[in-house]
Symmetry: D2
Subunit: 333 residues, 4 copies
């Protein structure tokens, strides 16, 4: 079976998914929608797809699945519409910035029994997936501590920050999902501290650019997260997990792995400077997993509940910063 | 301009190039030929191309360039035919196992002014290309010593060995090309020693499975090459260049870069175990360079003379082993 | 000038310091005291020193400096006695487990103007010292985030835990000192969470074996600390500092740096498994720094105030765990 | 039993051995001799030893062993005198620059049954010793290929070059010993090429500063050696051994292992820049091994035959360069 795709949103991440669909032998891009017509047209032309509007795509008989890459505030409505139309749904994170809206949306998904997968691409990075594989294979014993270092090469523009929902909902949310993916237990408490060290403009918008977090589980497992909106040396994406019998870590990735030795020392190039080059393989594997879910009928993971859980952790982090204390997840959900 | 390709040979490496052509926005696979009809049909179907025979492809008006992936003993004839038909030519190495046949073939290429590029894919590996880039940027001063470690995960079957031309023409030939690519001067002398340490069957065929070589240039630059047909830890492909002001090296590549720490130590996974996964990016970049040469009319590199030079070094190595002495390239060419 | 030393305490750490004194050209070990006579005698014999009791050493005219390696509950009394006797004092951490006792002791040190250095040996580790050096040289810009990973190879016996003051005063205290050494600002708030994951016996004693901490400074700099009483792979001691222009990190150390590559992967040996082999160079450099302070009259660092500050951070961590909130240092000191 | 040492030669390497003797619990430095009286006096004073002349040390009843660190042209005579006087002998390499003189000297050693150990310190480097340990433990199967990279930070002065015996007898000789230590079989053939790339002054003295060598054994094992008198990045000392089941390598060592990450990349400091800091541990372990041989009566290794064998390999290398061919060791010994 070939999964016939409609793409909603032809922006930066939409292009990434269109490319992944085109490269997947079991998938075909049938139609593209975007509020900006030339964007939809260009992308459709590149992959031999049609241009339609979102409603038409959702209603179409020749489309099995939609990929939602539109602005965040449209996600929940589109998910609901697609679910009711019987489409399988891949939606970029987050489902919505508001917990209640997410819950309402997931009720519709539940009622319609729609397949919904949420775009936490990092689970599909081969290196991070191998970390999880090592845990599952029992190589490090019982998980005790997860350490996630996640730093962007540079801060996004103010216009982006303004609608992003803030650092926890926009950036840390990926780390919350990785924490859940690796801890092996649900998070019980969240502590977060955050400050503005990179750009005062971010602070003026009420957001932060530097954050440190500690999550715990019911049995006392711990997760440390370090976030910054600036890393001169590139996109810093590391994970390590310490267990009762050992530890496993995933190193940073760089485009080219050479080393130059001179009187000044031994120098390797900086890291990837962009999430799309860093996670190229992850995006392809993510769509492949979604295609497999659609064709086999098996559950799509990460699903809507994972999207909800990560967002709830972001809520808890915000409250923790505001109140200077650890927040129990029972206070949020 | 889109370069319209005919592919001659639908075997293992033919598939690699078909994939690279399909992924290149300026290239299109028009037709596929293979003596084994189902192989041609399967590959043609996958990429929406036609099945034709080699002669028809070479004669076709709707084809600009051919990629030659047939058995080695057909390369020179096909190059000549394609050159006379005005096609641009990408040919897998080697052009032929016999120096005289290569020279004759290159005369035809020269007379027809055909574009000819030879498949030394390693020049296009991003890591090795970055080594060369560091040299060209002056980061290590004047090149003094090149060290190439090149070991296959395992020995090929006897049937392959029998027609391969031997380890120097089949395996070391890539290292000869890298040596020429990095030394910055032509090779003046070759010393080689070789033995059978891996598989006695290889020795019975008159070939070797383990070799060490030293090349020198006129000004005294030196290159060490270490070859083995066996490496339990994967496809060992390393290069380092030592110069007057520093050194530059390219590390081995592995599919997944995690590290597991236990009481037994810190363990990273083995290397790639296959040239096609190790050099995926190189094959794509190689076809892209060929497409650029065809569309811009600029010289294709590495070209026929590079193919000839590497083969001559293999001849010198064979003579060196036979006679237990260093061989001057003036004795060969 | 040669500094003449009296050593109080001939146990494990006393031997380390005796060895460092013997290897220092400007120092001489004159006398050794220990409640266990044979211990004192053996150490004295090895280095050609006399055996005396502690009071005699403190009173002696032929001794310039004392090194205090006795049980923690004797430190403060011995410091005061030695200070009043005009001796320079090197004391193992901590000065005392009770903040008030430390403060009282430091008042005596202040009144007598005694030279007092506290044994935070990690500041003298060449690798960690180089991290600080890179910061001081401006290589990473302004410090923003410090991450300290500090895990013991195995948990100490219950008898040790019982008198240790708990994980924060016994183990994290080194990390608190490193945080202060590297943050460039005093710590303003402490958050800690801790659990018992390694050994229930530790929990029965009211202590923890696994802890995660976040420290902040007034301007929003952040420090993450990860502690465990167990690391199968050895003594895990890493530091990294992220700044506005870059980052600097110190890797783990191992006794032997080889790598074995097989079909199972690439394996390096485990880390040092003991603080005395890991920090051999640090202990020698520490005594050298003390000798320099004594002979030049310059201030000894880290001094008594540093010992007090680290202990106060441990107090804050205990309160944070008890109350589930971040604790301001103004609440403690 | 404490071994009582007389040190012949108080120069640079003499000081290293004096320090190692002083740090060895089973050894004592009794007397020092040097043609330059103040040198002997200073070293004797530092370690509480007497100053005597060489003849007196060799004749003395209170001395068990001599360490010979005098100029090379005195080694053989001193070895013979000490052997006849019943002393155990540790001699810096080489025994002599002339093969015949070495053979004559070893005859005396054989007749007197004297204990003789030759200063190939690298066998005692913990990292290289661990490489050998991994081989002996069967971790890489049967040894097939040894690769030795050995580059000095900078060229020695002309006065040193003039009496050094040339690069093969002075510098490569250590690599020849390591090759023999690791190959597991005697070397059968030697090929060497050498040039002057670093300093024309070295060429004017008839010597070389850059060399590449290939050694083989009777069963076809191979060893590559790369030598340069210049390495901007420090003292480059690496070894790797490839076997039938895997490979083992020893990395370079640096004084401080930090890494600084900036927009320019990830930089580690240069390597050690001097053999005495690089091989500090090796020198101590070497004297310890000698002390053990003297006290237990077990054979000292590496012994005189090892010194002879390495020198013979240097002779073969010289002949190989002169004649442009591989030289069989049967031609030399």
């Amino acid at each position: 079976m070939t999964v016939r795709f409609g793409l909603l949103g032809a922006g930066r991440i939409g292009k990434v998914h269109a490319h992944a669909i085109a490269g997947n032998a079991d998938a075909r891009l049938v139609a593209v929608a975007d509020a900006v017509a030339p964007a939809a047209e260009a992308l459709a032309a590149q992959y031999g797809a049609a241009v339609r509007d979102a409603a038409a795509i959702i209603a179409a008989d020749d489309i099995d699945a939609v990929v939602i890459c539109t602005p965040t505030n449209t996600h929940a409505d589109l998910i609901e519409a697609a679910a009711r139309a019987g489409k399988a749904i891949f939606c970029e994170k987050p489902i919505d910035l508001a917990l209640d809206r997410v819950k309402a949306c997931l009720r519709v998904v539940g009622e319609t029994k729609a397949t919904l997968m949420v775009g936490f691409n990092r689970r599909f990075d081969p290196h991070f997936a191998a970390v999880r594989g090592a845990i599952d294979a029992g190589r490090i014993g019982k998980v005790e501590m997860v350490t996630i270092t996640s730093r962007d090469p540079g801060a996004p523009p103010a216009d982006y920050i303004r609608v992003s929902g803030g650092i926890f909902r926009d950036m840390t949310i990926h780390d919350f999902d990785m924490a859940r993916f690796l801890l092996g237990e649900e998070v019980a408490t969240v502590y977060a501290t955050a400050s503005v060290l990179v750009d005062p403009a971010i602070g003026k918008l009420g957001d932060f650019d530097s954050a440190s977090l500690v999550l715990t589980t019911a049995t006392g497992r711990q997760c440390l997260i370090s976030n910054s909106r600036r890393a001169s040396y590139g996109y810093d994406q590391r994970i390590e997990v310490h267990g009762s019998k050992g530890a496993v870590s995933a190193e940073n990735q760089r485009p080219v792995s050479i080393e130059v030795a001179t009187a000044e020392g031994y120098t390797r190039p900086p890291l990837h400077d962009f999430f799309m080059t860093r996670y190229t393989e992850a995006y392809a594997a993510e769509i492949a997993a979604f295609v497999t879910a659609v064709t086999t009928g098996k559950p799509a993971a990460p699903g809507g509940e994972d999207g909800l859980a990560a967002l709830a952790l972001a809520e808890a982090a915000l409250r923790s910063v505001a109140e200077g204390r650890q927040v129990a997840m029972t206070e949020i959900l």
